[in-house]
Amino acid sequence: MGRLTPVCCAAALAISLLCSGCITISGTSDRQLRNAALASPLINLSDKYYPSDGPQTKGGVAVNLSPEQVREIRATLLTLLKAVKQTHRHYFRYLQEEMGSPMPIDLPIDLEIDPGTSSTAEIRTDNTIYLDLGVLQGFFKGAILDVSERSFFDLSPAKSTSPNESSRDENAIVQNFLQFKRDLRNSKGRTVVGEVFGGQAATDESERLETMWESMTTATARYLGLLLFTLSHEAGHYALGHLKEKCEPTECNRFVERELAADRYATALLAALVPQEPVFGFDFQGNAESLRGYEPFFTIGYEFARFSNTSICSCEYPLKERRLELSEAELLRATKRLNAEGWIKWKYNTPRRSRTSDFDVPRFQDR
């Protein structure tokens, strides 16, 4: 006890000096930003897609995940699907009016992850959305490359030790992101920038970290947007009764109509979901547009998921530029309707729930 007393006194003195402003701790805000960056869903998801103990490909990026790792990814996706289902339930009357089509109140849809690499993201007649792991990893890789393009921190392939083959460049960028994450986690010193970036430390560290934080937030929003748009599009096929129709090579016009309708449904639904703040317990600030997903889907997701333009029934998908344009138009229309006629009017008050909040947005499942 006698030995503790001086320590307690010193601590009390330090706290009082701190409070009075006599002492300032340089780097405190850096650390807060570091911790916030590490709590970012992008970082957490990268642990799931690229676990350090995962099997490695030649390019050094984990591709074959264990069943347990796949289950973790599925749990994340189920959280997003739950948000889509809830939004549909709350706003199904608005959606019906928007789409001009009767719809069920509930979407009894399940979700499975295909462990293969067949570039599949579809809802099947067993009312289950199947997402191929290759597609999900492609989406995630796209989100990281997006960071690379817009961020101050260097993820260029030149830093990679992997062989210089063009197909590996993407993997090299992912590798550098993973290295950056490891460095960020291991940083213990006075400032984060000094440790993580070493000689590259900028004159204004706080500014650099803020830029990093913004980049991470944007990339996370765009990644979640990709997933939300994909899930909403597939949910749209169910809600609009498309699963009762067959995909026939002789009826490609109808196929195109269905795809565009599902895009419109997804955009209208996300127009209702996204303005609720915060989304998934995470403050996306000015990234609502990305969270609505259609833009990152058509500009990043389509390419990185390796989607082709030909469907299983040999019909051609509408051009992604056209889909992007029509989704944008739908967003404007849907938002106008929601704003003009009021959100409350459209809300479906289910008697089974006794929620105090307007909207039950599940929190993002962090590790």
Partner: protein, 181 residues
Amino acid sequence: MTRCHIGLIAMLMTLSLKVNASGKAETLKVPYRRPGSAIGGGSYSGVVLEAEKDKAANTCAIITAISARSAGLLQAPADGLEAQKPYKTDYARITETEFNEYNQANPDLKLAPGPLYAVTYEVAYEIRKSFVLYQIKSRLFYGGRDSEEWYEYKKKYDDAFFSRQLLASIEQRFGSCAARK
């Protein structure tokens, strides 16, 4: 328990795996997927099975596979085979090639040359979410070259060998049966 005892038990356990008396069914999961609506084109592989074709596709796969072995079902419902219900076949003669293949695969459980051999099967299928589960039990019989009678083979033999042959044949036919209009 001595090392000798443990060794003896292990040996007996190994032998028991090969005994036909177990009546254990061999199973095979054949993957399929339902038709769907995708957000973008992908590279598809595997069998696409429409829900309304479950019964017809599986009936087709099982019956054509059994027919290819020159056998038939003892009771074949006109409207197709029900899922989760076992169906028995009559005798499927073992050809000379199959006889040689069996003896080559089972040097410890060789069938003696001389008599004719035939197998009866008990087949069942079950539709699961992403695959069809087929279960087959096989029973071996023998008969004289001049006799029409078949007698159950009482010695040890590898019944799984015959079950696996039929399972492979069903799997091979499943895709084309599912694609039938």
